[in-house]
């Protein structure tokens, strides 16, 4: 178990606005990703998921700045490099990202083989183009593509599903140690979503992908994808546990609210209405002392907005809620939905 490939240590990131204000988008995130594991990160838009991804890639492009904390891949820190060094040593090799809009992330004016060749040549200079092409053919075949045809096509000529495979194929060309999938399926219909997840599993079985972070706002999807789930809210992890613990027995009121807002087409579920989480997450400009979810929390108590919340172990998982032990009880008494 204790064989982490990615270690994140109290990572804090901020955006610097043009008025000189700091927005603390990621505020003290600590976790480990084990070798061969899929860790899911869930949270609503604006909770800092995508900022966290930039941080994990080591891509600090203004206005994003690194405040403090460390990210280590295979024991080596990736913090403190400039963009060029980072591109050469980290991106693609150590850690790669599968972007959200996979369908629009290919340059339409260049053939797939040129895009993929660039990826290899930017890391291994001086290779013969023929050697590279052979490698591409072999790899694209393994991703389940008609390599010859796809490599010689322009992205526009390919159907959506194929494009998705191409993007995933290019992202994983250099066998990165960690793959970060940032909402890879949120723009897709349910059937294509399933195909993409299936492809990711295939690549893991073939050991092209070894460890993965899967970021999404759909908790039910993570049920089938990841072994552990971290729930993120307003720049912090609020709960981190195994998939079963988080989905069926969340101890943070936010986790419960997130589950309650999902709906499924299970027969006989029409009576169980999904409940939206009202209100908006807090502004992260000013440091927040108390619980960040208190304002929207259905079971908040008087001292919640002013008490500092720390991550602690409750029922075998990490939870950031002072009253986590009684969450299930209180919500149950109120008749709130359990999954």
């Amino acid at each position: 178990m204790a064989d982490p490939i990615l270690e994140v240590d109290d990572l804090r990131l901020h955006y610097l606005t043009r008025f000189g204000e700091k927005i603390h988008a990621v505020d003290g995130v600590t976790f480990e990703l084990q070798k061969g594991e899929i860790l899911g990160i869930a949270g609503e838009s604006g909770c800092g998921k995508t900022t966290l991804v930039s941080g994990l890639l080591g891509l600090y492009i203004p206005p994003l700045h690194h405040t403090s904390g460390d990210v280590r891949i295979d024991g080596k820190s990736i913090i403190g490099m400039n963009v060029e060094q980072n591109r050469e040593q980290v991106l693609g090799r150590q850690v790669a990202m599968i972007p959200q809009g996979a369908l629009n992330s290919l340059n339409p004016t260049r053939k797939v083989k040129d895009l993929a060749t660039d990826m290899i040549l930017s890391h291994e200079q001086g290779l013969d183009k023929k050697v590279v092409y052979e490698r591409l053919r072999e790899r694209f075949g393994r991703v389940g593509l008609d390599a010859e045809h796809v490599l010689n096509s322009y992205p526009v000529a390919l159907p959506a599903g194929t494009k998705q495979r191409v993007v995933i194929g290019i992202s994983t060309l250099l066998n990165p140690k960690v793959v970060i999938a940032d909402e890879p399926t949120s723009a897709l219909d349910v059937s294509t979503q399933k195909a993409v997840v299936r492809l990711l599993f295939e690549l893991m079985d073939q050991e092209i992908i070894s460890s993965m972070l899967f970021i999404t706002h759909e908790l039910p999807l993570l049920r089938h994808v990841s072994s552990r789930i971290a729930v993120m809210y307003a720049g912090e992890f609020v709960e981190l546990g195994t998939t079963e613990q988080v989905i069926f027995d969340g101890h943070q009121p936010y986790t419960r609210a997130l589950m309650g807002s999902m709906l499924s087409a299970e027969p006989g579920q029409k009576t169980k209405r999904p409940v939206a989480i009202e209100g908006a997450p807090p502004n992260l400009k000013n440091p927040i002392s108390g619980c960040r979810f208190a304002e929207r929390c259905p079971v908040a108590r008087l001292d919640c907005p002013s008490t500092k919340q720390v991550l602690r172990i409750v029922a075998g998982r990490e939870v950031r809620c002072k009253y986590a032990e009684s969450t299930a009880q209180t919500l149950g008494d109120m008749g709130a939905s359990a999954p």
Binding site: E44, V190, K194, F201, D205, L258, K270
Partner: protein, 264 residues
């Protein structure tokens, strides 16, 4: 009330010519009753948006007929007459609003669709009411531009416009797909509110049969331009007759059911 709002008979729409001809909607026949929420469900590219656009008079049918209130759509020379009765909510609220004007002024400008504009005071009041109807305090958006709001809030602005215009029919084309999972439920609640309070007929276009099941009175399943199955939600989801429906149901990740079998 069994009055029919829409009636389609052998309705088709094709694009292109000769070899490159694509049939987006292929001889569909259906009817939509008054005050009903009908969901059009299908994968991307199955023709559901083209069908919705024909109902909105944004695309003309290639063949067959499509009637609204008993008269063929397109018989009128002025499309605005159609749009006073049939309105739409689209997928991306940011592309639906002009970035250079405040939200409030754009909501107010929707009154220009009417033949006679109400007085300025009445317009302001109706904008306020519409904002309250979608649970947004008018003060929250005062002087704000579209890019200052979140996706969920902007989608509610599009719905506020519907509360202002009060059309007879609302065509909602994937209104929830750009919205966060946790605000999705509220968008669906507003659709039901429009039906109940303003007795609107709603055509809800989606790829997620789960959402369709939750809101609709009737579900049409589309595949490759054809309607392959239609019926009440319970029947469609519990005893699906078409393989397409079974596939759609099967593809939704559900916490209580295995989804992908994995060897490793």
């Amino acid at each position: 009330m069994t009055e029919l709002k829409f009636e389609a008979k052998d309705l088709s729409r094709t694009f292109g010519h000769g070899k490159r001809q694509v049939t987006a909607v292929d001889r569909v026949t259906f009817s939509i009753k008054d005050r009903e929420i009908v969901s059009l469900v299908g994968q991307s590219g199955c023709g559901k948006t083209v069908l919705a656009k024909m109902m909105l008079r944004l695309e003309a049918p290639s063949s067959g007929e499509l009637k609204f209130d008993g008269r063929p759509i397109g018989a009128e020379s002025d499309p605005r007459k159609h749009w006073r009765k049939v309105q739409a909510v689209f997928q991306d609220p940011f592309s639906a609003f002009n970035q250079f004007f405040t939200i409030r002024s754009q909501l107010k400008s929707s009154f220009t669709l009417f033949e006679t504009k109400p007085s300025d005071k009445e317009m302001e009041e109706r904008v306020d009411q519409a904002l309250l109807a979608v649970n947004i305090k008018p003060k929250e958006v005062e002087g704000k531009f579209p890019f200052e709001l979140s996706g969920g809030q902007m989608q509610r602005m599009l719905l506020a416009r519907i509360f202002i215009l009060r059309p007879q029919v609302l065509i909602a084309d994937e209104p929830t797909s750009m919205v966060d999972a946790c605000s999705r439920a509220s968008i669906l609640d507003y659709l039901m509110k429009l039906k109940e309070e303003l007795s609107m007929t709603i055509v809800f276009v989606t790829h997620d049969i789960g959402l369709a099941y939750y809101v609709s009175d009737s579900i049409f399943i589309m595949h490759q331009g054809k309607i392959v199955e239609q019926g009440p939600p319970d029947q469609v989801t519990q005893s699906p007759s078409s393989d397409v429906t079974k596939q759609l149901l099967d593809d939704i990740p559900n916490v209580h059911r295995p989804w992908i079998e994995r060897v490793a």
